[in-house]
Every structure is written in structure tokens, then in C-alpha cells.
Amino acid sequence: MSPWWRLLIYLLAAPIVGGLLAGIDRRLSARMQARIGPPLLQPFYDVAKLLSKERMVVRRSQSFYILFFFLLTVFTGALFFCGSDLLLVFFALTLSGIFFVLGAYKASSPYSFVGASRELIQMMAYEPAVLLTAVGLYMVTHTFSVHEIAALPSMPVLLLPGVFFALMYAMEIKFRKSPFDLATSHHAHQELVRGITTEFSGPILAIIEVAHWYENVMLLGWIFLFFSIHWAIGLACTAAAFFLLVVVDNACARVKWQFMLRSAWYVTFVLGCGNILVLWLLEMFGILTLKH
């Protein structure tokens, strides 16, 4: 399939898939808590509702930042699904995250500030794991191109279990799940109000929500790369990983940010770097060849 077709499918299907995933997530969570839970299409109802609400902003420029957050998130996903460079995807995503933080800082409110600084700490916590993912995938496949990695009939996770674990740890942060839903959360936690999204309401909040759908679809794409031997196996493993994220979300209480930062870096450096070190040693002593 040509990259343009993939781009078109991504742009149209990602919000639908992302919204359904959010619905599945909420329903699964409800079932795990012995509740019935909302309808599967609830996230779509929520967004439709938000779009019909009054436009209310603290400063008008905050919507401008959120618009860029949305565009850059979609752009990042487009790069990924067009099969572009993995490093470029990671850095573009960081940029979109920064716009989100700027939007929150623009609305001068203490809740929003706390959320924004926590978001920055979260980025600090997960970025090393994300970068190691690129390094690890390069070692195994000798390319940064998403297209080529996905096309290889290989199972990178077999050689990169440590890196994959570190990435899953980062995913728990990225998906805004407990125990790391510090900056904002999709559930009704009250002590932070809604952190980084506190000062956004109505249509702007709807845009943030849809941006998260796009983002989540792309993040699941990253997981898919580790299981790209066959598309069916890849999809099954990605779905299993998503289920795992929801289970952990419901099984854990929120931790302090110090713990999140420290543990994320420990996991990344011990398991991620350890994994890469072992691969490098094995290759140096000729026990393993990573040539394709």
C-alpha cells in the first residue's frame, strides 16, 4: 500500500479506533470494578457534547497552543503511519507535548500549573525509554525507518524483551494510566481536579480528547513494531498489551512523582540499557549475528 493511502486511512480511521479504544477501556475498567459501565460509544457522546458547549477561555491564546498540540499530534501519527523515520516521530511527539504544556501554562491557574509541571516531569520520565526503543530497534533491524521495520518478518521483542518492558512502563505514563496519571487522568480523581486540562472546557477540551485518540493509536503502533512478524500476531499482541495497561490502571493507586521518575529511569537503565548491552556483548563475541 502506498504511504498516501496509509496516511488517508490513518487520518480517517484513527479517531474512530481511538474513540472505540477509549470506550472499551472505560467499559473494561467498569467491569473490573463490578460496575456495568457506560455504553461503548460514550467517548463519542462526550466529544459531541463538548463541541456543543459554550467557548470559555481564560486567555484566548491558550486555544492557539492546543490547536498546535492537535495538529502536531496528528502530524506525528501521520509520519509514523507513512513509515517515516522513527527518531523523527519521537521528536515530533515531544514537540506536540510541549505545546500542550504551554497551553496549560498560559491559563494562569494553580491547578493548571501543577498539571503542566507534572506533565514535564512525566516527559522526563518516559523520554529515555522511548529513545532506547529507537536504539534497540536499530540494533536489531539496522534501520530507523518504520516502514522497513514493519516489513521485516521478524519479532524484535524476542531480542529486546528488556527494552520492550521499559517501553511498556513508559506507555503506562503516556496513556495517562494509574499509577502514573499524575498530570491528568481520564477518571474522576478529584484531588488534582483535572491537572493539565483543568482550564480547558467545551470545544477545546474536545480537541484535546480527539488528539489523545490519535496519539493512542500511534502509541499502539509502536507496540506493534515489536511483534511485526505477521500482522495478525502483531494485532493480537498489541491488543494484549492494551489490556495489560488497563489491568495495571485498575490494580494500582497513584504514586508520587518522585517515585515515578526514579522507577521509570531505573527500569529504563537497568532493563533497557542492560538489554542493549547484552546484545552488544553477544554480537561482539560472535555468539549472535544481527545481520539481515
Binding site: 472505560r26 460496575r35 457534547k49 456543543s52 459554550e54 470559555m56 474522576a188 472546557s201
Partner: protein, 301 residues
Amino acid sequence: MSGLQKSPWVIHYDASSCNGCDIEVLASLTPGFDVERFGIINTGNPKHADIFLVTGSVNEQNRDVVRNLYDQMPEPKVVVALGICACSGGIFRECYNVSGGIDTVIPVDVYVPGCAVRPEAIIDGVVQALGILEARRAAMVASSTAAGVMMIQHATAADLPELLTVQKVAYASEAEIYGDTSLPAMRQSLAEMAADFGRMVFLKGVVNGKIVATIRGYNDGQGTAHILRLSVLPYFRGRGLGRRLIAAIEAEFPRVKRYEIFTGHRSATNIHIYAKQGYRRFKTEPFNANVEWVYMEKKSS
């Protein structure tokens, strides 16, 4: 599709409840009642909420809090008073520090009595609120699409309280620009406005029977018509209502030589609108530490 009825997000505030009703509100969220089945989420953030649930009577300490939470919720919104204390003050009605039910501070749409109110009654109250919410949204859509057919009429003395409200709501954004709530338009009382009404021409812009904009002006007898207090409700801005009101008030004074209008020096939108109507700035005058008035004039054609 509005989705409004399928995704009502609530905010719950305990005004001065004994916690009996609050426990029942939380009980509605638990597996036994699970209001998330209907898409109801307890947000804890007024800016995300559609329905304001208040328990307990209002006392002198939290009048402002209740008012503030209500003001921070985006339209359309509804208020549900939960429990007999929130409805009428209940057994605390006669207390020296209690003002009474929630409706002494903000407009209440649904009253759910009970001591304590049962979760079934809470859910029933919220479901009734949904109908009102949908009606409000429909009214909002109707008035926004009807903005183009705004009627401009002479205001009557009976309109004055509504005009004052429109003026104060409209000038809130000006007060925000300067960080100063002491602007004359914000401070004006009804009596002062009535005095103005005696010597000025008041126009009102009406959409669907509701006043959404106003302007006034007077002839100083020396060939100049002074135009002031252009107020358009925030929801109706950017649709050319201000421009139409300026044209209408100018037409009220056909024999003057020039028109004069003024605004604050940092009100870029106002200055832009006036400039587009042919006004040129001719002097500035300091008003207080924060604001400098920019005077603009236009020769009569």
C-alpha cells in the same frame, strides 16, 4: 446530534450539608447504582461540568463560592438542589448564618427533596435536569442562528434592569483587560442608569425576545453626539451586532456635526471596530492608574 443528554458531567458542591446527602451522591457512583451507565461523570471541575449538584443550605461564608462555581460553568448548564436543606434551608432555615436554599444565590432548575436524598431520587433529578439542559442548548442554537435577525429598538424604562445586566456582563471582558473592576460601566447602579435614561437615547438589540446588546448616546447641544457604553454579550460577539448598533445610534442624531466615542487604550478590538466605522482618534486622557481613555471622532456626512 447533541450528545448532551448522553454525557451529563456533574460537579458536586457541599454548601453546608451534614454530609448525609453527600454520602448518597457518592453512593450513586458506586457499583450499586453506577450512574456512569448513563454517561454521568463526577468531574470536580466546574469548567467541565454541565450539571451543578448542590447539597445543604447556603450560609454567609459560601455564598460567593456557590456563585463562583456557577459562573465558571460553561453554558448550557443546570442546577439541581439535592436534599431539603438545598431546596429551602430545611431545619437550618432559621439559623443566624444561613441564607436559605440554594435559590437565594443562583437559579435552581430541579429541586430534589429528601433527608437524606436517596440515590434513586438523585438519579431521577439528574434525568429531569437533562430535559432542561437539552432545551437550553436548543435555545442557545436558536439564538445564535438568529443573531443575524437582531431587532434594534428603543429601550423602555422597564428594560433598564436587563440592560444593566447586559452592560455588566459585556464589560467583564474589559475589566479583565485592565485588571480593574472599578470601570464606570461596571460600577453603575440602576438609579444612575435611570438618571442617564432621562437624558440619553437608549437602544437595545433583541434576539428571540432577549436583550443581547445595547448602546446609548446624547446630543450635547453644541453639534456633537456622544455615543457610549456599547455592550454586546460575549456569546454574540464577532457577528457585526456592534457595527449595526453604532450605525443605528448615529441615525438617531441626524443634525449633529460630529460623533464622539471613547474606549480604553488597551481595548484593541473596540478601537478596531470604531476605526472601521470611520472614527479617528483625536485625543487621549488618563482616567486612572490602569486606564487611559482614547477619544475617537467622526464627522457627520
